[in-house]
Subunit: 329 residues, 2 copies
Amino acid sequence: MKRVTIYDVANEANVSLATVSRVINGLEIVREDTRIRVNQAIEKLGYKPNAIAQGLALQKTTSIALLVPEASFNYTGQIISGLLDVAKIYKYNITLHTTSEAIIQIGEIIENIIKSRVDGVIIYNDKLMMDELSALTKYNFPIVVVGNQLSSDNIASVYVNLQKAMFELVSSYLDKGMTDIAIIQDRKNKYMVEQLIKGASQAFERKGLVFENFIEIPREYRSSYTYLREYFKKHKHQLVVAHRDSQAMAVINAASEAGLSVPKDMEVVCIIDSKYNSMMRPQISSFAIPSYDLGAVAMRVMTKMLNQSPIEDKEIELSYLYTPRQSTK
Amino acid sequence: MKRVTIYDVANEANVSLATVSRVINGLEIVREDTRIRVNQAIEKLGYKPNAIAQGLALQKTTSIALLVPEASFNYTGQIISGLLDVAKIYKYNITLHTTSEAIIQIGEIIENIIKSRVDGVIIYNDKLMMDELSALTKYNFPIVVVGNQLSSDNIASVYVNLQKAMFELVSSYLDKGMTDIAIIQDRKNKYMVEQLIKGASQAFERKGLVFENFIEIPREYRSSYTYLREYFKKHKHQLVVAHRDSQAMAVINAASEAGLSVPKDMEVVCIIDSKYNSMMRPQISSFAIPSYDLGAVAMRVMTKMLNQSPIEDKEIELSYLYTPRQSTK
DNA sequence: CTGAAAGCGCTAACAC
DNA sequence: GTGTTAGCGCTTTCAG
């Protein structure tokens, strides 16, 4: 199919290309009959405006870049889903970029994003902090960070206060007199675990205690499970907190092999779960983190920034809900 | 930061924009010293070529559209991951589009893709078949379909032969004299289940039998689990095949509630599993479907089509591997 | 080896 | 209301 341009339509309809532009954008007033004529021509020729050319002329692309870590999508899936739904409403396209463990690549990705001249960038990344973002901020297009509390001139963020969540959870156990509480720590999700530790420490401090139970998965272990199997042969806690349901499940399975029964001998809680949690036995007590909303709100904020609309607050905190299940008493 | 264009660089380096274009594209021969001068200017000004303008001039965007159903990403995640990794190698950008259940939207999405002038489209979709694709084929850019066997002039496909997989699986059970075999059927993944049924039917026919055990989840049930719980109070099979581990898990949990033990009283197999399968008890026997490769190969084929490279075969079948686990004897 | 100039398809003043 | 025209930033002949 030959490319049909705005000129072809103009010819067909016997008007100037400016008029065609007017009707496709519906901005200015065009006389009824000529509008109809133009629309017929468009229909007849099967004309579709070239978004690339529009982008050049308008200096905007109506597409925003999404930057997510690696590509498991196990937990970002919901976020992306929310993002896309809202993006669709506002007619924004999403270009998907993933950051691998290798930090070196990040420069390349950002370069790529800049070349693409997207209107904005949404980032979900535990590791990427202000410093790494600076490369992006120089080009001062709006940035929305999902998952971290963070803001500046053209950066907004949408997040859940995990520290507070953890504080409340740990406090409630401490109140019951249970102090043997441990957190699973692994290399990934470093930022997230840090927040959990802060929250726990805070709760301990309040009781005049010190929190120091980190179950750190050593680098040499390919999977947490392998390590945990060893670990629970020698250790036991009253409560173990994992960040994800998969980690929690590894804990439960490992503990079970070591003869520990959850929740009888040990309770387990995770922060974020997936749809699989409902299928697991025991089902894991978790915080209901509004992942979908995290994405949807992020995209909404982005559209506001793009429209220069005033934003009440650049750091938007979404709420969580602790949901006890079978893995706790 | 002010936009810096190729003109600015040309000025700074005291050359024409044509020369700058040459050095950034590294195509034609440019004298050593002027090349260095230009590169210095680029460095100094922080110039990044505008991909939009390049796209306009070159009539190509180096970006390809990815169309996936809804947005669960539970099973497409791996595919997307493979896709992105290869896309990165070839410097292609991916724009992400999701198709919801509502068919009406599909036209809008396709229109959007066409306007974006992507270089190609990769589609993973059980439902979308030739007819729906026609809107795309008219614009004759390359299309790669993931998951369906399908091809034509500018359409290639990468898939796994589920029918064959199912045929082999069912045959092996029939050979053992087990004929009470059922397939879980739901509204989603219709195409996939169809293939499974074909494979099973074929195996049954070969034995002079007829396959007719479909456990169809009625529309009114929000989750399969709710229905299955009722179902297994009254029914029981020797083998139940589900397409996904989540479905299989629902079967196992429901059966378990009805007093059936898997695999003792009933065996369960699923076709595609996720990383969660390794955490489930029992772990579900499944076919190892090379999801990542499905994506990676699809992208590779796409790049070939874009380069007009000859393609040996437009229908690429990837292999699976049946992996018995705890849910079968 | 390098520069001038004509597009690529569209938008947005500015005329009429 | 509608047409004219100058860009948007880059690539690519075609000269020199």
